[in-house]
Assembly symmetry: C2
Homo-oligomer: 336 residues x 2
Amino acid sequence: MKTNKDVSDIGEYSLVELIKQQIKQPGAKNRLVVGPGDDAFVAKIPAGQLLVATKDLLVEDIHFKTSWTTPWQLGYKAMASNISDIAAMGGATPLYAMVGLALPGNEKIDFVSQLSKGMRAICDKYGVTIAGGDTVSSRSGVTISVTLLGSVKKKYIIRRSGARPGDLIYSTGCFGDSGAGLYLLSHGAGKRGKTERCLVNKHLLPEPRIAESKIIAANGLATSMIDSSDGLSASVGFLATESGIGAKIFLDSVPLSTEMQEFKKKYVKADFWNIVTGGGEEYELVFTAAPGKRRSIERLLPRAVCFGEIAKGRDVMYYFNGNRIDVNAKGFEHFR
Amino acid sequence: MKTNKDVSDIGEYSLVELIKQQIKQPGAKNRLVVGPGDDAFVAKIPAGQLLVATKDLLVEDIHFKTSWTTPWQLGYKAMASNISDIAAMGGATPLYAMVGLALPGNEKIDFVSQLSKGMRAICDKYGVTIAGGDTVSSRSGVTISVTLLGSVKKKYIIRRSGARPGDLIYSTGCFGDSGAGLYLLSHGAGKRGKTERCLVNKHLLPEPRIAESKIIAANGLATSMIDSSDGLSASVGFLATESGIGAKIFLDSVPLSTEMQEFKKKYVKADFWNIVTGGGEEYELVFTAAPGKRRSIERLLPRAVCFGEIAKGRDVMYYFNGNRIDVNAKGFEHFR
């Protein structure tokens, strides 16, 4: 099929057929009792396990700009952020995805085709079966709605609300890379050099921490957990609020990549600490652990870094070189 | 809270709190292992049953106009159309709903509040627990994404693809009411009299056929099934295509409400048969049944009407008073 056509040239039913071709995964038939193309899909949840489910909406020019991302990357990331939410529940397995697409009629077919391929690529990687969806027209702009369904053993569930005073706060990886990538994209510096391309890549192609989540859950390492999609500050804030407790964040302990340190030197006009604490979209796991778990964490998750601790009270406090400081980082809040 | 405020006056986090208040259902805590407010929700699927899941996107000015519908009605209908998709799978039970909302910042809080209440009303009615969602900003217009999750016994599943030659085609109710209601709304005649208000009501507040679906499945009445959200012609077309077979539709047997007959006399400029066959959004169940099931259907589903039969070949043919006629009804197709 020629790919320079618009969506309105082929209509909904042909478009759905095209998408179904792009997302066709070998073995999907065996994993779905009823697959895409019926009123609903039907599938198994492993015996004795619970259903875990999440959904995200991604709106053009709010969550993404098509001038910054390829449709393949967009599809990959839309799925990654939902798989990350499943990972954040603790040892959960992502199983089935549903995709809702609202598209203006003048959208290119190739856009939809590449978007579907990007989704399929990450779904193949994490064993997710694309099971259904809905494709509709929009007045303007693309809206993507992904629903991710999975399963979890009850004993493995880790909520946001289990943090206790004295618990250490860990991250499975670095902060700020994604936010710095976004800064570079919005300042037209995304392709300048290796550092820039690396940071932009972290923004456009995040990896959910499914493997780390399974290690954390299976070894009972965490008392509470969240993914860092809303940024370091908001993530710790949510854990603290949901647990009814306070927290201390030691900024000099926050893990930073070598690219991020490079970025700090090179882009002095960027609000570095705001990007680190509020940038978000890293899709790392932020979790709290009893101090006695320190050795196990070091052994099982060598890349995890402790950057704070749960404290009495209700405030999230920031420290740098032992001194308390004010940080005005809130992460991204819609409508603000 | 004063309700003349805009969404942007209170921000995402307060808005989510407001929605959580509106959708609070007694007993929800017992039905959810982890409820709204975490990265994902966690819940049970009844032992020995399969997961059934569907999702719809509703876009302002494509699927609805806020000048025609109250937000309460909009919330009710958004949920109804998804519950209907669950019903169409045969004896399935809707259990959990997730709601994605993309809103422009100048949307009134009262709109969101009423929308949530409408959703909650129908969820209470059908035993659905609102379990999670996502609220984000949009550049313009409201987009609603509903995901409905339920459970079904494997032996009860009814697909679109099981129709066989000689099967009779049934509907659980009348056609055209919803389409006529839409016609009246778009011609400013929605409030004219009792007939008009009744038809408009059928368009704005449809009822999914959960009870009928359970009767059909438990008694093994149907060989294939679909809901009529896309209209009579498209629904029969999907059953025929998926079953690799043809169909005959007897237009003089298509069930019409007294209001619809009234509408035919009064609104002679309206393309009556196009509304009946292509209007859609009735959310009735269209199903095929072996001729031997006729008596059981009459006894168990007294309101069901036979209006066609499955035929050899691949065409869907229309008849009126025994004569074959051409009908150019295709239902609504996006991007067309």
